[in-house]
């Protein structure tokens, strides 16, 4: 149920964001979504790709420091209160969200959010018990292919 997310360390200077994305594109790997957290000095680029093992190899070979994290994709109703409902479930279970970002793709009235938890397995159990739809890699990538 968990997705593999690649994170890269980038210096915050012109051209640094483009380079890893070009490297992935050159390897024929399609980028599903990305999120960038940055400070004035450096940034952390987080990527979701289907061929994460290949992408990781490509990036590491090109000299980037790559970190692999398990994240959870959740299908939410794309309407007011959709996210609030999920957050309430997580909050009452005492689960801490490190960060979250939206998947770039929408399906019908659903939006997909990527969550980074300390404990993804427990989060999945809690989300499912509350009737929320956790999207696995196969399902996620089948929609974008």
């Amino acid at each position: 149920m968990k997705l593999q997310q690649l994170s890269l360390f980038l210096e915050n200077r012109p051209g640094r964001l483009g380079a890893p994305l070009e490297a992935i594109a050159a390897a024929g790997i399609n980028l599903m979504t990305l999120s960038l957290a940055d400070t004035a000095q450096f940034g952390i680029l987080r990527l979701i790709v289907r061929e994460w093992e290949q992408a990781r190899q490509v990036l590491e070979d090109a000299g980037w420091v790559v970190n692999l994290t398990e994240v959870v994709a959740v299908d939410l109703l794309d309407r007011p209160g959709g996210l609030a409902q999920a957050l309430k479930v997580l909050e009452s279970a005492g689960l801490n969200i490190e960060y979250l970002y939206a998947f770039s793709l929408r399906r019908g009235d659903k939006a997909i959010l990527i969550f980074r938890f300390d404990d993804p397995d427990q989060a999945i159990t809690v989300l499912k018990a509350a009737g929320l739809h956790v999207v696995d890699a196969e399902e996620l990538f089948s929609h974008v292919a």
Partner: protein, 443 residues
């Protein structure tokens, strides 16, 4: 350490240690004049003496040492092996060598009398730092070309205590020996003392419960922080000593019961503290490079050997009764010292700070600039996979921890820049450590 009190009973091994200043200086002068005569057949010195018309009669006061040439590590290397020998080869009783990052060791020789002098000088600081004939001492220094093991070994014997020549390494075995033989005293590098404490904890032992009571540590620069750490972790008193193989080995100086600087054995070494740039003496108490002239060494006497070690000298009398000048801890090396807003900073200190945060030293570069009137330091640190997290709070925390450790260790505020791997230029495989962008003119 209160100035009035002693950590342990104050005892003197050799009456020469408490010679009044005037008698000490008279002895130094006499020995310095003899030295000039003794080295006059060593090619390196002979050429200089001939050119500058120097004989023993040129030395009328101790200040006249400044008429003599400096000797550097490079000079020693150029005259290897044993080009500085001042006695016939048959009189050599032992040969040690200094390790170096540059490959082949620099050999140093000792006559039988040199070895006797050396063990006597080690005995002085050992006794000053609590060693008694009834004690058992574990020496966890390397025994070999390195002067630490053998130098201290014979020093301990000279005192009449029992030696366990455990040699370096194999922490488990060191702990077994400590457990079985209950030595009161440990001799090793300060960092190895902490390794032993760690090793004890890993084996489920409380390092404070070990029978050790004192430690004599040297062979590498360390800090007061580290002393507190060692004393706290092992529940011992830790004493500092100093020496270098080029002039003898350990025993050049060591702490007394007051633990307020290391007494230089000035009846055997004439020590200057010089500005490494101008080579002029620095005012008392100011940091400078120690330049050492061996007054009694027979096999390879050294004239004004530039140690590159930076320390401060204090000449005021010590509560222990010795009149010998005290030296501070070695604060670093003159060859890579930076002065940041008046604070002397060494790349090794930045390295130590990174080591404390990271457990290993990543590639780093110290950039110094002076955008206005104040120096600004940026330490660039190459990110490694083990340091990297996808979480921003962790990464910010890492930067802050590095900056805090740099402040603790080096006493300066530095901006920490995390940079991508291989962003710091390497020169011939070695990373460049310092980039000083400050303009040399003050205009």
């Amino acid at each position: 350490m209160p100035a009035s009190g002693f950590a342990i009973e104050n005892r003197v091994f050799d009456p020469a240690e408490t010679l009044p200043r005037a008698a000490l200086e008279a002895l130094q002068l006499e020995r310095l004049r003899d030295l000039v005569a003794r080295v006059s057949e060593v090619p390196f010195y002979r050429d200089y003496f001939t050119l500058h018309d120097i004989t023993r009669r040129s030395i009328r006061s101790l200040d006249d040492v400044r008429r003599l040439p400096f000797t550097t590590k490079d000079d020693l290397r150029r005259h290897q092996p044993l080009g500085f020998l001042a006695v016939p080869r048959r009189e050599v009783a032992r040969i040690h060598g200094s390790s170096g990052t540059t490959g082949r060791p620099t050999f140093v020789a000792y006559t039988a009398q040199d070895l006797k002098t050396w063990s006597g000088l080690c005995a002085r600081f050992l006794v000053a730092g609590g060693l008694r004939p009834e004690h058992t001492v574990q020496i966890a220094f390397g025994y070999g070309l390195f002067t630490g093991g053998f130098g201290l070994h014979y020093g301990v014997e000279q005192v009449g205590a029992a030696v366990i020549p455990a040699a370096s390494g194999n922490t488990r075995r060191q702990l077994d020996i400590i457990h079985d033989l209950a030595p009161e005293v440990l001799i090793c590098t300060p960092s190895y003392a902490l390794t032993i404490a760690d090793g004890a904890r890993e084996l489920g032992m409380d390092p404070r419960s070990l029978p050790l009571r004192f430690g004599h540590f040297g062979g590498e620069p360390w800090t007061e922080d580290m002393r507190r750490e060692i004393e706290e972790q092992l529940d011992i008193l830790a004493f500092n000593n100093y020496g270098l193989s080029e002039v003898m080995g350990p025993g050049v100086s060591g702490e007394c019961a007051a633990r307020n600087g290391m007494h230089l054995q000035e009846d055997h070494f004439l020590v200057e503290c010089l500005d490494p740039e101008t080579l002029a003496p620095v005012p008392e108490g100011e940091p400078g490079e120690l330049v050492i002239t061996t007054l009694t060494r027979e096999a390879v006497p050294m004239i004004r050997y530039r140690t590159r070690d930076i320390a401060r000298l204090y000449r005021e009398p010590c509560a222990c009764g010795r009149h010998m000048t005290r030296m501070s801890r070695v604060a670093g090396r003159s060859d890579d010292m930076l002065i940041i807003r008046g604070v002397n900073v060494f790349p090794s200190q930045i390295e130590e700070a990174l080591l404390r945060v990271e457990g290993t030293t990543p590639h780093y570069l110290i950039e110094v600039d002076r955008p206005g009137t104040l120096d600004q330091v940026t330490v660039k640190v190459e990110i490694r996979a083990e340091m990297f997290s996808d979480r921003m709070d962790r990464m910010q925390g890492l930067r802050e921890r590095i900056a805090r450790e740099i402040h603790t260790v080096a006493g300066i505020r530095a901006e920490v820049d995390l940079v991508e791997p291989r962003r710091i230029e390497r020169f011939a495989g070695k990373a460049k450590r310092v980039l000083d962008k400050r303009s040399l003119s003050d205009g």
